[in-house]
C-alpha cells in the first residue's frame, strides 16, 4: 500500500485528473468523411500512392459494412460526418527534427501527464512515442535503439522510411474488412507507433506510446504495428488520456502484432480515457481492434490491460496461434463506475499444434455501470494438444450495476483440453469489517480488497505501470462505497 496516502489525496481532489485541455493552435480538417478527406489525410502525411490507394479501398469496404450491434452496450447512433478526422498542432507542420524543437506547450502537456519527453528525465529504461490527437509529437531513445537495429518511430515515418515492412505487415493481422471500426481505421488512421525488432535482438528497454486526445470533435484513429523477428523480444506499453468534455469522442484504433519463430511480444495497456461524468455525460467511445499473430513456432504474445476509462469500451485483444507450440495470454482488469459500459475480452484462435492460451479476466462494476466479459476460445481441427485455461471473475459493488460473462468455446479437435471457470462475488461485509477493525479506512479497505482480487493480472504489468494501475483502481472506484 505504498500509494495509500496518494490515493486518499486523489479521492479528495476527486474525479479524473487528466481532464485539462491544452490551448494550442491546431491544423484540423473540417468534420466529414469522404474520399477527398481521405486523400487530404494521405496528402498531409505525404504518403506514397500505394498507401492512399489502400486507404481508399478500405473506405469502400467500410461503406458496405454495418456497425456491430451484438455487444452488451448501448449508445446513440454515431454521426461519422460530424467528426473531424485530422487534427494536429500547427507547430508540428514543419516536423521538429529533434526533441528540443518540440513546441513547449506540447512538452508541458506531457510533463503534466507524467510523461516527460526529455530523455534524461524519463523513467529509467522506457522509450516513448507521444501521440497528440492525429500526430506523433516525439519519439525518444530512437537513436540508441537504432544502433541495435530496432526501429521505433511513428507509423507515418515508417511508411516513408520502411515501406517494404509496412506493405508486408499492415493489414496482415487485422484485414481491412475485419470489422466496421477496423475498416474505418484503415481508411482514416492518422498516426500511431511502429516497432520492428530484428532477428535475435532482445529490446533492452520497454517501448511506450502515450496517446492523448486534445482537440474537440475529433476522433483519434491510431494504427500500431509491432513486428518481432525470429528470436527477438519486446515489451510495449501504452497509456491513454483525454480532456474532460461533455460530448462523446470516438477512438477507433487498430493494433497489429506479429511474432515470428521464438519471438516474444508483451503488450500492456493502461486505458484511462475520460469516462464521462457521474451522469454519463461525455467520455470516449473506445472501439478498438487489437490482434496478435503468433506466426512463428514457439512464439509468444501476451496482452495485459487495465481498463478504467472510456464511456464505452469495445475491445478484444486477441491472439491467432498459428505457429506450433506458440502461446497466447490475456490478462485483463476492467473497472466500470457511474454510467460506464465495457464489453471486453479476447479471442484465442488455436491453429498450430501444442498451442497454449491463458485468459485471466477480472471485472469490477460499480455505480450503475455494466461490465461484460466476452471471449472466444476456438480450437481448430489441426490444433492437436491445444490447451486453454480461462478464469473470469466479476465483482459487484452496489446493487445498481451489472456484471456479465459471455464466453464462447468452440472445440473441433478431441485432443484439446479447454477449461473455463468463472465466479461472481461482491466485497463481503465481513471482509470490510475485518479490514476496518484493523484500522483501515473504508476507501483503503476497498482498494486493498480490489487489488487482491486483481492481483493475478496486476503482477503481469511492468513495474512502472503496476504502480500507476494500483492508484488508478482506487480512483476509478471513488464514491462506490455503499
Amino acid at each position: 500500500m505504498t500509494s495509500t496516502a496518494t490515493t486518499i489525496e486523489e479521492y479528495q481532489r476527486g474525479g479524473y485528473k487528466y481532464g485539462f485541455v491544452t490551448d494550442i493552435e491546431m491544423d484540423s480538417l473540417p468534420p466529414g468523411l469522404n474520399e477527398d478527406v481521405i486523400r487530404a489525410i494521405s496528402a498531409k502525411k505525404n504518403e506514397p500512392q500505394w498507401m492512399t490507394d489502400w486507404r481508399l479501398e478500405a473506405y469502400q469496404r467500410w461503406l458496405k459494412m454495418d456497425e456491430p450491434d451484438w455487444a452488451f452496450i448501448d449508445y446513440p447512433p454515431i454521426d461519422f460526418n460530424s467528426i473531424s478526422y485530422y487534427a494536429a498542432p500547427k507547430s508540428m507542420d514543419d516536423g521538429p527534427k529533434s526533441l528540443d524543437e518540440v513546441d513547449p506547450k506540447l512538452r508541458e502537456t506531457y510533463n503534466k501527464l507524467g510523461i516527460p519527453l526529455e530523455e534524461q528525465m524519463m523513467l529509467a529504461g522506457v522509450a516513448v512515442d507521444a501521440v497528440f490527437d492525429s500526430v506523433s509529437v516525439a519519439t525518444t531513445f530512437k537513436e540508441k535503439l537504432g544502433e541495435m537495429g530496432i526501429v521505433f518511430c511513428s507509423i507515418t515515418e515508417a511508411i516513408q522510411e520502411h515501406p517494404e515492412l509496412v506493405k508486408k505487415y499492415l493489414g496482415s493481422v487485422v484485414p481491412q474488412n475485419d470489422n466496421y471500426y477496423a475498416a474505418l481505421n484503415s481508411a482514416v488512421f492518422t498516426d500511431g507507433s511502429f516497432v520492428f525488432v530484428p532477428k535475435g535482438v532482445k529490446c533492452p528497454m520497454d517501448l511506450s506510446t502515450y496517446f492523448r486526445i486534445n482537440a474537440r470533435n475529433t476522433g483519434q484513429f491510431e494504427r500500431t504495428l509491432v513486428i518481432a523477428e525470429e528470436g527477438s523480444s519486446v515489451s510495449y506499453l501504452e497509456g491513454c488520456t483525454a480532456p474532460q468534455r461533455d460530448e462523446n469522442q470516438l477512438h477507433a484504433a487498430v493494433v497489429e502484432l506479429v511474432a515470428l519463430d521464438d519471438a516474444s511480444i508483451r503488450y500492456s495497456t493502461i486505458q484511462n480515457w475520460y469516462p464521462g461524468d457521474e451522469n454519463g455525460v461525455g467520455g470516449i467511445y473506445n472501439f478498438v481492434t487489437k490482434r496478435g499473430k503468433c506466426q512463428g513456432k514457439r512464439s509468444h504474445i501476451s496482452w495485459t490491460q487495465v481498463e478504467t476509462g472510456s464511456a464505452i469500451t469495445w475491445k478484444y485483444p486477441s491472439c491467432i496461434l498459428l505457429g506450433d507450440d506458440s502461446m497466447g495470454e490475456f490478462y485483463s482488469v476492467a473497472v466500470t463506475n457511474n454510467r460506464q459500459q465495457a464489453d471486453t475480452g479476447t479471442k484465442m484462435i488455436h491453429i498450430g499444434k501444442n498451442t497454449r492460451s491463458t485468459i485471466i479476466s477480472k471485472g469490477i462494476s460499480a455505480g450503475v455501470s455494466n461490465n461484460s466479459y466476452r471471449g472466444l476460445v476456438q480450437i481448430n481441427k489441426g490444433a492437436h494438444n491445444a490447451r486453454n485455461y480461462t478464469q473470469c471473475d466479476s465483482m459487484l459493488m452496489g446493487d445498481k450495476c451489472g456484471a456479465h460473462t459471455f464466453p464462447y468455446i468452440d472445440v473441433r479437435n478431441p485432443t484439446a483440453h479447454v477449461e473455463h471457470e468463472a465466479t461472481t462475488s461482491k466485497i463481503g461485509e465481513d471482509q470490510m469489517f475485518y479490514c476496518t477493525q484493523r484500522g483501515l479506512s473504508e476507501e483503503d479497505a476497498i482498494s486493498l480488497i480490489v487489488n487482491g482480487f486483481c492481483k493475478e493480472v496486476l503482477q503481469e504489468l511492468p513495474m512502472e505501470f503496476a504502480v500507476e494501475a494500483d492508484k488508478l483502481l482506487g480512483i476509478s472506484l471513488e464514491g462506490s462505497v455503499g
Binding site: 446493487d399 468455446i409 468452440d410 473455463h420 461472481t424
Partner: protein, 451 residues
C-alpha cells in the same frame, strides 16, 4: 394477409412459411373456443412476421436450420393410426405403475393408452378433452409462461396447438404414479410436422413426476416441435423427464418453461439421444423465494447429429438456488452445443447459482461448443460457471490399464462414469435403468466390453 405472405416469400422460402396455409388455422378454429382461436391466430401472425430464425440471431448462431427450411412437411392427418400395440410396448419404458398416454403423430391414441384411474386430486386430460370440459385451467394458464421472443418455433407450436396433455395436481396432493407421455411419430409416407403441447400445473404443496418420451423409426424424416409449460406452486415438487429418442433423420425442437412459485422445487432431467438436428430449450422462471431448480442434462451425439441446448435460468426473486449440469458425449462427426445463461435480476439477492457444462470429444471430427453465460444485476450473489471440453483423461486411462483393463474396457468404464453422474441425479429407477441399457448400446467402446 396476401401482402404479408409475399413479403415472407421474399425473405424466406422455407416450406413452413410459404406452404403452411392459414386456412388450416381457420379450419381448426371452428371447433375451438374463441379465446384459443384468437391465441392461435395471433401466434400465426407472429410466426409469419418473424420467419424462421436466421444464424444472425444470437440464440441461433450455432445451429444450421437449412434441413428444416428445405423440407416440405405435411401436417398429420386426424384419425387412424397405423401403430400397433406391440410397437407401443416395444417403444415404451417398462413402467409397471405409470399412467401411460400415447400420442401418435401428435394426436392422442386412446386405444394405445393406459389411463388407469388417477388418485383423487389428480386430473390428466388431453387438451381436446379439457376443452370440452368445464375446466378453466387451460384458459388461465396456456401460453402464459412460455416466451416466444426470438423463438418462432414456439409461435408455430401455439399457432397449430391442437393436442397434448393437461395435468392438474391439486393442492397438497402427492401423485406417486409417474405420468408417462409416449409420443410416437410415424412418417413412412413422407415428412410430417407435429406440435405437441403440454400444460402441467402442480398446485401449492403438490408433488408429481412427468416423463415425456419422443420416439420414431430410424430413417424417417419429421419435425417434432414440442412445447411444455410447467407451473410449480408454492412448496410444490415437480420432477420432469424429457427423453428424446427420435429417428436418426428427424428434427426435434422442444421447449420447456417452468414457472416457480415460492419454495418450489423443480428437477428437470433431459436425455438427448436421437434426431439429426435437435434443439432443447429449458427456461425456468424463478419468481418466488427459496426455490430450487435443477437442470440435469445428458446428450450423446453420433453420426452427423447436431444437438443444441439453450438454457435460460431467470432468477427474479432472492434466496434461491439453481443448478445446471449438462454433459455431452460426442463421437463420429457429431456436434454438441451448450448455451446456458443465468440471469439474476436487480432484486434477486442471495442467489446461489451454478452452471456446469462438460463435453467429451471421442473422435477426430466431433465438435463441441460451450457458452456458459452470466448476466448479473444483483451484488450479493454467488454465481459460478465452468466448462471443460476434452478427451478422456489419459492419466485415468493409464491407471485403469495398469491395473489390467484392456483399453476399450478402460475407455468404456470412463465414458460410463462420465454419463453415470447425470443418471445418478435422477430419482426414477425405471428411467435410470432403461437409460443405462440404451447408453450401453449407444456409447462408443461399450460394445467391446461388458461394463
Amino acid at each position: 394477409m396476401t401482402t404479408m405472405t409475399q413479403n415472407q416469400t421474399m425473405r424466406d422460402n422455407s416450406w413452413l412459411l410459404t406452404e403452411l396455409p392459414e386456412s388450416v388455422i381457420e379450419h381448426d378454429a371452428a371447433r375451438m373456443p374463441k379465446w384459443l382461436a384468437d391465441i392461435r391466430r395471433s401466434a400465426f401472425r407472429q410466426f409469419t412476421a418473424d420467419g424462421l430464425p436466421s444464424a444472425k440471431q444470437e440464440k441461433w448462431r450455432q445451429i444450421n436450420l437449412r434441413p428444416i427450411r428445405e423440407t416440405a412437411f405435411g401436417l398429420p392427418a386426424d384419425g387412424a393410426t397405423d401403430v400397433s400395440e406391440a410397437e407401443v410396448v416395444g417403444h415404451s419404458l417398462p413402467f409397471v405403475d405409470a399412467v401411460r398416454l400415447v400420442f401418435v403423430n401428435g394426436r392422442y391414441a386412446a386405444e394405445l393408452s393406459d389411463a388407469r384411474a388417477m388418485p383423487s386430486g389428480v386430473t390428466v386430460q388431453t387438451i381436446r378433452e379439457a376443452l370440452k370440459s368445464e375446466s378453466t385451467i387451460l384458459e388461465t394458464h396456456l401460453t402464459k409462461y412460455v416466451n416466444a421472443d426470438d423463438d418462432p418455433f414456439v409461435s408455430l407450436n401455439t399457432a397449430l396447438l391442437d393436442d397434448g396433455v393437461v395435468v392438474h395436481i391439486e393442492k397438497n396432493i402427492t401423485c406417486d404414479t409417474p405420468i408417462y407421455l409416449l409420443c410416437i411419430t410415424t412418417a413412412a409416407d413422407g415428412p410430417i410436422i407435429t406440435h405437441p403441447r403440454n400444460l402441467i400445473i402442480a398446485e401449492d404443496g403438490a408433488q408429481a413426476t412427468i416423463v415425456e418420451d419422443y420416439v420414431g423409426t430410424d430413417g424417417e424424416v419429421y419435425l417434432t416441435n414440442a412445447v411444455t409449460e410447467l407451473v410449480v406452486g408454492e412448496d410444490a415438487h415437480l420432477h420432469h423427464y424429457l427423453l428424446e429418442r427420435e429417428s436418426d433423420a428427424a428434427f426435434n425442437v422442444s421447449t420447456l418453461t417452468a414457472y416457480h412459485k415460492t419454495s418450489s422445487t423443480l428437477s428437470s432431467h433431459t436425455v438427448l439421444l436421437g434426431g439429426a438436428l435437435v434443439r432443447n430449450n429449458v427456461n425456468p422462471i424463478i419468481d418466488g423465494e427459496h426455490c430450487h431448480s435443477l437442470l440435469n442434462g445428458l446428450y450423446i451425439g453420433r453420426g452427423k447429429q447436431h444437438i443444441d441446448n439453450l438454457m435460460r435460468v431467470e432468477h427474479r426473486k432472492p434466496n434461491c438456488e439453481s443448478r445446471q449440469f449438462y454433459k455431452g458425449i460426442l463421437t463420429d462427426e457429431s456436434r454438441g452445443v451448450f448455451a446456458g445463461r443465468i440471469i439474476v435480476s436487480r432484486d434477486a439477492q442471495k442467489i446461489d447459482a451454478v452452471q456446469s457444462n462438460q463435453s467429451l470429444l471421442l473422435s477426430e471430427a466431433a465438435r463441441a461448443n460451450s457458452m456458459p453465460q452470466l448476466e448479473i444485476y444483483a451484488d450479493d450473489v454467488k454465481c459460478t460457471h465452468g466448462a471443460t471440453i476434452g478427451e478422456l483423461d489419459e492419466e485415468a486411462l493409464f491407471y485403469l490399464e495398469s491395473r489390467g483393463l484392456a483399453e476399450p474396457q478402460a475407455k468404456a468404464m470412463l465414458v460410463h462414469a462420465f454419463a453415470g453422474e447425470s443418471l445418478e441425479r435422477m430419482n426414477l429407477p425405471v428411467v435410470q435403468e432403461a437409460l443405462l441399457q440404451m447408453l450401453t448400446q449407444r456409447l462408443p467402446f461399450t460394445s467391446a466390453a461388458n461394463v
